[in-house]
Symmetry: C2
Subunit: 367 residues, 2 copies
Amino acid sequence: MAQIALSRRLRRTPFSDGVEAAGVKGYTVYNRMLLPTVFESAEADYRHLKEHVQVWDVSCERQVELRGPDAARLMQMLTPRDLRGMLPGQCYYVPIVDETGGMLNDPVAVKLSEDRWWISIADSDLLLWVKGIANGYRLDVLVDEPDVSPLGVQGPKSDELMARVFGDRVRDIRFFKFDKFEFEGRELAIARSGYSKQGGFEIYVEGSDIGMPLWNALFAAGEDLQVRAGCPNLIERIEGGLLSYGNDMTDDNTPHECGLGKFCNTHTAIGCIGRDALLRVAKEGPVQQIRPILIDGDPVPPCDRPWPIVAGGKRVGQVTSTAWSPDFSTNVAIGMVKLSHWEPGTRVEVESPDGLRGATVRDKFWI
Amino acid sequence: MAQIALSRRLRRTPFSDGVEAAGVKGYTVYNRMLLPTVFESAEADYRHLKEHVQVWDVSCERQVELRGPDAARLMQMLTPRDLRGMLPGQCYYVPIVDETGGMLNDPVAVKLSEDRWWISIADSDLLLWVKGIANGYRLDVLVDEPDVSPLGVQGPKSDELMARVFGDRVRDIRFFKFDKFEFEGRELAIARSGYSKQGGFEIYVEGSDIGMPLWNALFAAGEDLQVRAGCPNLIERIEGGLLSYGNDMTDDNTPHECGLGKFCNTHTAIGCIGRDALLRVAKEGPVQQIRPILIDGDPVPPCDRPWPIVAGGKRVGQVTSTAWSPDFSTNVAIGMVKLSHWEPGTRVEVESPDGLRGATVRDKFWI
């Protein structure tokens, strides 16, 4: 296993001191920023996440801020999801597409007010696309990356921990809504959201200086809840079918291929740059789509490149995320499968690094 | 030290199999792709680079291809360097700036023909900015990332090794020029360029399938030259004053702050998006600028975040890259220093993680 070579270019976060003190063992790089991947072990982190509560440094979900009279217009240009009904205080999962309908990112849009939005991005410099579009169309809008770093609080005891720090009102936040809460005299947006299926919150920490004070406050308040430092967990995210941009899909894929057609209102999303390109696929459907894949046998090795899915000697797709699930005692995986083989129950084979494995295309993810 | 967690999102390259077989010990992530950082040790790799020849997997220098009738116009919109005199077969180092004059990247532009260019990028998704601009200005140009992965051949024996594989004509390539050479029936652009001061070439490997065959051909031909797998070397690049985008400068900085004013022709670069914003700084000069910094004393620890430069109790700059130089028996560093303290010979102090260190602002880099 190779070490990661640290440098300023792989940006530290307001919480890095806490992450290091908690004994982080592995990192990935996400939006040119450090993202922890493991503390104790993937399995131990997974077990703890499902039973207790974890604090996640997800600063790498950088924000692209749109501010000004054309902010809402620009936001709609970026996505085929119809945003007309979206209210301040809401979060929307929005596929972002280019002029060919290819996915550039799959962020969460946060509507702060009619003329101020945050886009909480996955792993690509969406800032550059948005700045280019704003400049080219001469829109009246400022586009930049503010000093905002999301801190995740995930797991079944999240409500209890958050209530101890921010008061019982956090319990009233509904899924994909946010409200404002005070911490050390600062107003912070807190949403009920996060990259797990165990429930929890994302705190949009505005101002790096309060990063470690907030981190420490959460750990002090949660000692008896067994709060730990955690991070997005590969096993749990595959069980839950949470896609990872760059892993499970790229700019080669349309939202429909990613199973995100339900977040597209291609006919009414007037102004969306990729609208023309998506009209046909929206009507007729894609020829390949993301599916849960169960892989037979013993635990497979980590998936660091696409593994072909084959049937009858032909390539019919690829697997891009895999893990051994302790709870389901099987290999869980996310793959992109051609229409001819995507029906639930279809038997296929996966070319894993240690040989061909039998596999089954599933209807639903595990959790 | 933390491990790097591998996944498809951190893209492998056409040469990754060779890099692994050569015993890579450390990686960084650059343009969401794996970039080796150390094989034997930073010092041993450095010594070998200065004496022999190395093959570098710099696939992470992805290409942004511009193709079509508006390609040259778009290229000029991106940079304050005047491109009117540039001929096919030339490479230009070009600062890329946004509408505020902030650096978005510092790539090498490769002019293949009047209507076809490659931009060989540093670490940011420049593709997204260029696509956004092309779309917003409705230019007649295709913008995408082709299957082109640069392979570096660096070190004093580079000419000899390359001549054995591509013929003696490679010796005639002049600095920052390229020509076409055949390998296994494929025409490849080869430039005399690279991210070291030891001389060498960059082969623009078009078609991932010939990556390992070319890698193997170079190693087979260079056995008696002691050819080894290598990578950009931190020590040598600081000695040589080769900047690293994201480390030594960011989008906060103008080209003039980075000492790249000589690559800006702000008055005549008509069409450059950042031209208006840069006119004043081009005339009056910047208030801070990149400087070589010599840090006193024993080897400093690795620099993974900016270290403040102070003088008289005030912050007058920051150091962003450091290394111990075996050849110069001192700590070499790159910093950004305010006008008040940037004169050669100025004594300052650097807040390193193990305490305040005396330091001297230098006139020139070491090599």
